[in-house]
Amino acid sequence: MISLGNIFRNYTGLLRRFKLSYVLNNLLNQKHLQHNIKLYKKFGLNKSIYAPIGSQDFPNPSEDIPWLDKPNAKERLFASKKFEQFPKEIREELFRFVDDGYMILKDFFNEDSINQLNTDIDNLLNKQQVGFNYTGRKIMESYKHSKTANQFFRTRVYWNC
C-alpha cells in the first residue's frame, strides 16, 4: 500500500504543513477510515471522512466520559466482581489510576520474552525492516514485523484494567 504516512515518517519539510497532503494520504488509506462514516453520523459531524478533523469540529463535546473518570469510579471498582478477583497490589494500583492517572505492574513481563523482543528489534533494524521516524528516536509499529512485539501489544490484561 502506498502511504504518504510512511514517507512523512522520515520527512520534515514544508509538505508536512499542507493539509492537502494528509487528505491525499487519507484517500490512499480509505479502508482504514470507513468506520468513521457511521461515527460521524452518530456524533453529528457533517464532513467527509477524508477531510481534516480537530476539536474545533466539536464545539459542544459529548458529556460521555470513561467511567474511571467519574466521581464514583472507586465505588464502581468496589462493586465489580472482577475487581475482587485481583490481588491486593493490583487493586491498589487501580485506585492509583483513578486518583493519580497511572498504575504500575511490577515485573509483569518475563526476562526471556523481553530478551526475545530486544533481539527482534535489533534484527529488524539491521535488516532495515523498521527504522527510526523523523524524531530519530521512535521506531513505529514494530508489532507488524515481530511476533513477540505483537504478543506484547495484544496482552489482554491491559484491556481489562
Binding site: G101, R137, Y143
Partner: protein, 162 residues
C-alpha cells in the same frame, strides 16, 4: 473505560525519548474525550542517568489542552510552522502555574506503566550520554469513538477488525 478497547500502534525506543512534557491526548484525540489509554514497558533497567520516564501524578484531572488553548498557527489550508513546540511551551506553563510535582519511573526490566489519556509525562534528559533505555509503548483507543490527531488534524487510520 466502559467501551471495547482496540490496539492502535506501538513505538519502540532504544534510547530515552527526551520528549518534553505532554499529554498523549493532543496526539491521539477522541470524541467523546478521554477514550485512549497507554502502556509503557521497560525493556531494560532504568536509572537516573539514562533518561527515565517522568510524569505528573494527578495531572489527568486538568482540562484537556487542545489547539484552541495555544498558538498552533494553523490556518484553513496549512498547519502552523511548529505547533508541537508551541504546545509543549503551553504545557510547561501549565505545569509551572499549577506547581505540579514531577515523579520519575525508575523501572526495572519487565515493569509496566499504564497511564491515563491526559496524564502529563515525558522523557528526562539523558545524563549519561551513549546509554540506552530500551522500551516499548503501546496506545489503545476505544471502539465507537472518533479518533484523530489534534495537531495535524488527521483522522486516525485504524484496523477496526482487531
Amino acid at each position: 473505560m466502559g467501551k471495547k478497547v482496540i490496539p492502535f500502534h506501538t513505538i519502540n525506543f532504544i534510547e530515552g525519548s527526551e520528549q518534553r512534557a505532554h499529554s498523549d491526548f493532543i496526539h491521539m484525540t477522541t470524541e467523546p474525550r478521554g477514550y485512549l489509554i497507554a502502556a509503557w514497558i521497560a525493556l531494560e533497567d532504568c536509572y537516573e542517568g539514562n533518561g527515565p520516564l517522568f510524569f505528573y501524578p494527578g495531572s489527568q484531572r486538568l482540562p484537556y489542552t487542545l489547539t484552541n488553548d495555544f498558538s498552533s498557527g494553523n490556518t484553513r489550508w496549512m498547519l502552523g510552522a511548529n505547533p508541537n513546540r508551541q504546545y509543549e511551551d503551553k504545557m510547561a506553563e501549565i505545569i509551572n502555574a499549577k506547581s505540579l510535582q514531577k515523579k520519575h519511573f525508575i523501572a526495572q526490566k519487565g515493569d509496566v506503566l499504564i497511564w491515563h489519556a491526559n496524564l502529563i509525562h515525558g522523557g528526562e534528559a539523558i545524563r549519561d550520554k551513549g546509554t540506552t533505555r530500551k522500551s516499548m509503548v503501546a496506545h489503545y483507543f476505544c471502539k465507537d469513538v472518533i479518533c484523530y490527531h489534534e495537531i495535524s488534524q488527521r483522522p486516525a487510520l485504524l484496523d477496526i477488525n482487531d
